[in-house]
Amino acid sequence: MIKVVFFAALREQLNCSELSLNSDQLTTVADLKTALASKDENWQQVFANNALLSAVNHDMVHSEQAIKSGDEVAFFPPVTGG
């Protein structure tokens, strides 16, 4: 299983802060994005946004990043702290 977490505007748009997904068919962050986007029209629209950032186990990564069972993957908008 892969734990997926969402933050800020993305969390609100999806009305979801966290979910778990079977990782058998998923080898990269891009695969995971495709799987999430196929949930429904809203998820598809949200994940069509190219500005979204992703992290695996608390490190910022690109879409080609490999993922495996037990990983925590996060999706969020560009950061605005400070």
């Binding site: 933050f7 608390h58 969020f76 950061v79 605005t80 702290g81 400070g82």
Partner: protein, 154 residues
């Protein structure tokens, strides 16, 4: 990896005291002649709107990891002594302190540069998000290209 990074980073809802933080940076630290601090506060206006408060969200765990990396990079690039980064989360009102970066060094140039570097990278890499409340309603702030450009200059 450097040690004692836990003490260098604090994500908290509570306010902080600039005087106390400076005192901690200076305590038993006779080798550093320079102390550079930056404090960020909630402004009353943003992009023409009257702001009433900001609500800060963060990604616990990743925030600390990301700030640790930024601090370690600063320590590799400049001859600096102590570092402290405080970032508040939750709802903050006009004039309240949001963020603190303090850096000490033997001479001022290293502390000035490292402080600005840490702040510039915090802005574009540390997972914090601001939701702005204005009299016209609430909205998440968009990231600024100018912040990306400032970080890229280093």
């Amino acid at each position: 990896m450097t040690t004692n990074t836990d003490a260098e980073i604090s994500i908290q809802t509570a306010d902080f005291s600039l005087a106390d933080e400076v005192a901690l940076l200076e305590q038993d630290n006779a080798i550093d002649g320079a102390v550079v601090t930056f404090t960020g506060r909630v402004r009353n206006q943003n992009e023409g709107k009257e702001v009433t408060s900001l609500t800060l969200e963060h990604y616990p765990g990743m925030t600390e990891k990301s700030l640790t990396k930024i601090i370690n990079t600063a320590k590799e690039r400049w001859r600096i002594g102590r570092v402290k980064v405080i970032h508040r989360v939750g709802e903050l009102f006009i004039g309240e302190q949001i963020v603190f970066v303090g850096v000490t060094s033997k001479h001022r140039q290293d502390a000035f540069a490292a402080n600005e570097f840490i702040m510039d990278y915090l802005k574009v890499q540390a997972p914090f998000w601001k939701k702005e409340s204005t009299k016209q309603g609430n909205h998440w702030l968009d990231a600024k290209t100018s912040d990306e450009n400032k970080a890229a200059k280093w």
